[in-house]
Symmetry: C2
Subunit: 164 residues, 2 copies
């Protein structure tokens, strides 16, 4: 089922001289600059290959309930954009499901090509196909307009607590 949904969702996005492929994260993407890309969003840290592989397997064990999508720049073999979604199973809304989108980032060298929007659409389509009644994400006020262009609307505020 996971494989099929990747194949169905796989599509080409043609840039001026680049070909971008959108697909699910693969374990070999660490070698394609995936962690460096996350480092453009926040502190990525120095993750060893073993730590990466272990976390990859942990996330993979959730199957379609935790999907990480990437866009690969096929001309350079580097990961150009990513985003993830985790599906929450609730009791309310007739045992409804909600998609939580996280960690959308586009490489600074390839911005302006709508790759971020493609990532959000890929994740949103996944949530719809999984039967979610909504998809949500948190962002800064500065990114509100971008997500509105992706079809989302501001509903509330995010609260957070960091542990020492």
């Amino acid at each position: 089922m996971a494989e099929a949904s990747i194949r169905n969702a796989k599509s080409e996005i043609d840039g001026e001289e680049q070909t971008f492929k959108i697909r699910r994260l693969e374990i070999s993407d660490k070698r394609k600059g995936y962690m460096e890309l996350l480092g453009q969003l926040t502190v990525a840290g120095s993750v060893t290959d073993e730590e990466f592989d272990r976390r990859f397997e942990e996330i993979s064990s959730y199957g379609d309930d935790h999907l990480i999508c990437v866009i690969e720049d096929e001309s350079s073999g580097r990961i150009a954009a990513t985003g993830s979604v985790m599906i929450e199973k609730k009791f309310l809304r007739n045992c409804g499901k909600v998609g939580h989108i996280e960690d959308i980032v586009v490489d600074s060298g390839v911005r302006g090509k709508h790759l971020g929007k493609k990532v959000v659409e890929f994740l949103t389509d996944h949530c719809r196909s999984m039967g979610c009644y909504k998809v949500i994400l948190d962002c800064s006020v500065e990114n509100k307009v971008f997500y509105e262009k992706c079809g989302l609307f501001n509903r509330g505020i995010q609260m957070s607590k960091y542990f020492d």
Copy 2:
């Protein structure tokens, strides 16, 4: 491990004439008004016992990565408050983890007894013990002050998209 964490976290909150016990959701809580309580937050729907049990087992299969906590009013045998937290496994922040708190609700008949704060603390303590670097939640602007009293701070905004 799950059992131990429940026992450790179990505590009594003494009301004027009521005794409240905080613990993890049990499958028998549907008979104690759990769905009716969720209905005070949003549309709960008409969930059959079979649907409830199936969803309970699905959520239980995540172990400590998806915890639903309830406060039972022991004098009435009814569920007085609830909240849930889902732990997201990331690659960034050195393969960090984040707790997503959802669906905090206190029965309208027992408000003003700090039960909501107890639920948030229970869930937050769980996230800390699971090694999360932060806990987040979304709320309306009206509930900002309540969550600030729980030790959380406003960091951004929530965006959402509802499917038809």
